[in-house]
Symmetry: D2
Subunit: 382 residues, 4 copies
């Protein structure tokens, strides 16, 4: 009897969809068929949540090794009566034939281990793992401790940080390396100043704080409520794997190799990343430091037209709650004239702009849709 | 420069709107113009958040006594670059001429003190306060300690618990008394069994737990983080004002006066209400208790076609997180044969179904729209 | 080098100890040697924390199956440099010879499965599990789904709810069944009124809320931070194992069999239990209800001289934070004359008075010490 | 009737006290009489909590402007039946005659505005505000925006960071400037390396995170539960008043002026400060960096005999929970050879070692007591 209600939900969403600039094959408008491998992790579930409201895409496959044959809406009760599909094992061959795009929200090494040219001809991939993010295989293998199984495909992957690489993501793109959560926040926070040569890249120190959903849904002791709640700690100091990813991308911006310090911290909250980044300002020819206006102009140059990046007014600092459940990144900076350094601050929702939201943003670009489709989310507060 | 982006947001939302079954005046389709008095409280801000994505309504007035002339998007930074309107004082006469509907998210006594027939002819009101919820003026005045200033308007008000009073909310309705947060959860959790005579109404005990946003945004010591966090307490024991509201509505269902115990508790979380309700089952003629199937049938009878009420499968208990940021109410029950009692459980988001969401649901009904418009929200997790 | 510091800590504690009314064997004063089986669970760790400051006891054995050979201060970093002992496997035979008392903070069935007369002659046991709490074996086996391996020892066990059974705990006691956390709070909250016949025992409904440390330190998905935080739920509705324990003890007080409803809830905080209990007041011969003064006198009768029970003044409700990290139970009540019911409220710290603190209280009684030794803890706030 | 219990508490504490090396006047052992001005703030309440268990001190005055004539145990219900004194207005003249030591847990400018030589002759002061922390008056006035009313007393004040200035705190000390919470953590974390010349002081960047009790008990909107919970933000970037305090003290260690970046952050937890500090290592003559062993030796040199400083083993990072409710500071570091920087980490409880605990530590030194008296607290977990 309740199926009536569920299909009511679908009718409602489809009614919204009729207005959408649906993906075209030839002259036909069709829905994008999306498959998700790893749909029962937190990032996978956020993908489901976003795609359910997307007017031009539908999920055709809920992949999950751990919950094969279980109803998705039972694994995540928030989807009760909204999703009645059952979870399927990750049969990549079968899935590739049914989906226009496959999202892999999987552990490192998974997609790298199975991807090949044939699969890339059949469908598109948006990989939320790190397998194709780092162009230098040796660097990947060193930081991840994994032998890359398909290194020659790395060059085909576009690093999907849309605000920076938008020009590279289009209908010909077959493989997206979706950036990491810390990485997205760190790069976007520092990018304009690195690109414009206003800070010394090698003085960059990124002190990052993350909510606990970033640690995944694995049943591990350090992630228990009583271990995380009322507690705060650094982890992976000087060894966290997002370090080389930030360095590589900022290196492209700087035009030379960059080495930074990156320290992640675990915070007792579900969602949100806050980045506090420090760097020495590059003195001008006359020996003075660049001023507030000049620095602000650099941010405006790159972000004024970016829907998802909000540069706050002087004196307002980003807070993770202000971007929660949205695809926004809030950014600002403070110049410390005493020390000649700048403090850059950025905040995002690690599951949205830091994972699933950015993945959908990439999908929109790959299929020629409005980049904001499904993502014009208003942050929730409180 | 950033105005471009903001209007980009509006263009995007308007593109979605073109498909909507927009409110008609004569043959013209027009947007519903909504004003909000008390827009800077938590419930007011949630109204803004929902209406921003509504395809058939737009906000024309952000009322706020405390923040007159301040930019709304500065009071709530989550709306930065999404709302650039300034807060206005609550000039009800002026507002009534500009809005098709006015939401009052105001303290008790406010609307009761200013509403009159002339205003009701000019526009519609959806009142999130308690002023018109209780039909018996003496009861209202006793529990609220306020002399009602417009008692003769109470009869014009429809108690807007849509799942029960949907038939009374339509294009002729001028005044909605939007139910309280605890009340909505308590009534919906027990209603089918009271209505069907399956429980003894006078044995009903409602033990309710609420997140802290229910306490509002006033700067009061008991609501400080350090006072609420890692703490739990009951408050208003045997005196909470939602008690007579629950009793009145369940009294209508029972066909006689009902008196209950209602105990609210404060829980260290932002959003969510959980109701645990206890009652003695009415024995059947043969002396046996009604069985699981019979009780479940009662819930199905009233809720099977209700989009926003989800009756969980046997053995699954509602959790507030599963309905967070949505308009859903999750409900279930357990029969305790040992004691002859039933334990009924219900969960909702106090700011959505418990306040702003239900208010929009009422607006949709008042304007002949799809009841779900703007409310087909997928709960966020985690 | 740092050992110096650690022994400094010990010297300091021992200096305090010299004043203590140390346990006597013959005329010699000696320290009580305590062993702990299950020392690496949350209750076990709290035992360690309390015993470290106890002037008359020292821990001689840190038992832990999961962490054999690991340094205790490494398993729980709060004990870094305070405890350098290594965890030992639970060799009960060996331990029994070395310890004057053994605390078992172990899963249900463990002590029941190994205890025998010989062990009970060698040493004393304080069991934090449920194995010896319920006198009726059939009831135990039904609710716990375990076949009791040593039912004939149950009669030797004293149910160690000190405020009620103090007279039964003395130097001859060999086996204490330390009460459950929910149980302690529920019984103490209702006991005086049941005992004095002021409430109808069969109308008793106990709605209890617990912090998450009550769920233990097992790495289980439902106890992950992101699953518990910002969430609230009931669990074990009508089936929770503390139900028969409450019923049995209140039955003794009432002088007849009692059946209640008990519903536990999980709250997003580390520590604390709040009990909200409802019951119908017994009318007096003249048909009136007992008044506030009469009811308060009943509480005073039983608790005025109880150090660890604090009956709050009228109108003040217990909050879990006010007893955190202490052995106190805060209690109060509200009469609802409209419904003829009383609402009783109680709060305690589930790891202290609900587990380790009460266990030490029992130990103090068993060894003839001041009951407060090691337990005159001031609640921490915030 | 309940007074019996309360005095029972006192008898018990006094029994413990008999063993203590009580403060001597002439040959008499007497209790230290302590007065507290500002006893109803969070730091003041923590002072009360610690002093209640101190064997050689008793509180003779609970000062509080906001709660004059209210029972202290009613303002903070954790002290119910433990403290029945009433709060008094801050009559400093009267108090000075009654107390051996006065703690001022007051806003900036209070003690600076009233202190004079006469008062300093009558009694001792331990000031938890910043009034006498900074030796350079101009620096104080610039960062605090307050004109110092008694600048000539500054030289009499000892900066009470016991681990560093222990030699200066003794029975002749009349005025202690008790260090700030962020400051204590920041200085202790970096001190050995600055002192030994192993890091470049001007490259020091301190990124600090604090629980919300540091913001005080004032009823301010930004400190409401719903604003702080599930949120994280930086504040006071480049302008926080603890900056010059850290700089001055590390300047003494470095032997020259030091300028640093200090960024505080607000974290959704009650207690705890975590400091992550970054600095460039000073290369040795041969161009190599100092190694792990050399750096660790520097920490051991200063802290091996410090009871309250725990240098963790390599690879273990401090967590705020491991020091909660204790006077410990946990410290460690990581060398990043890639960047030539060191990452130093420190954690403490802002209300204990960051305020009240350190104040009592100073009191102990001032009165010739064991520095650990009242402070041998075992951190609580979870």
């Amino acid at each position: 009897m309740r199926r009536v209600i569920r299909s009511g939900f679908r009718r409602h969403v489809r009614a919204c969809r009729r207005a959408g600039a649906t993906y075209k094959i030839g002259k036909e408008k069709v829905m994008i068929r999306a498959g998700i491998i790893g749909s029962t992790g937190y990032a996978g579930a956020e993908l489901v949540r976003i795609l359910l409201r997307h007017r031009d895409a539908e999920i055709v496959w809920y992949g999950s090794r751990s919950y094969v044959d279980e109803t998705y809406g039972k694994v995540y009760r928030n989807f009760f009566e909204l999703v009645d599909a059952k979870c399927l094992d990750d049969n990549i061959e079968a899935l590739a034939g049914q989906a226009d795009v496959i999202f892999t929200a999987t552990p490192q090494g998974y997609l790298g281990g199975i991807l090949n040219d044939e699969l890339l001809q059949k469908t598109r991939f948006i990989d939320l793992s790190a397998d194709y993010r780092i162009k230098d295989v040796a660097t990947y293998e060193k930081w991840y401790g994994i032998t890359h199984q398909s290194p020659r495909l790395i060059d085909q992957a576009v690093y999907g940080l849309c605000e920076i690489n938008r020009g590279l993501v289009n209908e010909h793109t077959r493989l997206i390396a979706n950036p990491g959560c810390y990485t997205t926040c760190s790069i976007l926070t520092a990018y304009p100043l690195v690109k414009e040569g206003l800070i010394e890249p090698d003085t960059l120190i990124v002190d990052a704080k993350s909510g606990t959903s970033g640690a995944g849904r694995g049943a591990k002791l350090p992630n228990l409520f009583c271990e995380v709640n009322e507690n705060m700690k650094a982890y992976g100091v000087a060894t966290h794997r997002h370090t080389p990813e930030i360095e590589e991308q900022l290196g492209y911006a700087a035009g030379r190799e960059v080495m930074i310090n990156f320290t992640p911290h675990l915070v007792p909250m579900n969602r949100g990343i806050l980045v506090t980044a420090y760097a020495s300002l590059v003195k001008k020819v006359d020996g003075t430091l660049p001023g507030e206006a000049e620095l602000r102009a650099a941010y405006e140059k790159y972000y004024a037209d970016e829907y998802f990046v909000r540069v706050l007014p002087k004196g307002e600092f980003p807070e993770t709650k202000w971007v929660e459940n949205s695809n926004f990144v809030d950014i600002n900076f403070v110049v410390d004239e005493r020390t000649g350094r700048i403090v850059m601050l950025g905040a995002l929702d690690n599951l949205v702009k830091g994972a699933a939201g950015q993945a959908v943003q990439n999908m929109n670009l790959m299929f020629g849709l409005d980049e904001k489709e499904g993502l014009a989310l208003v942050p929730s507060f409180p």
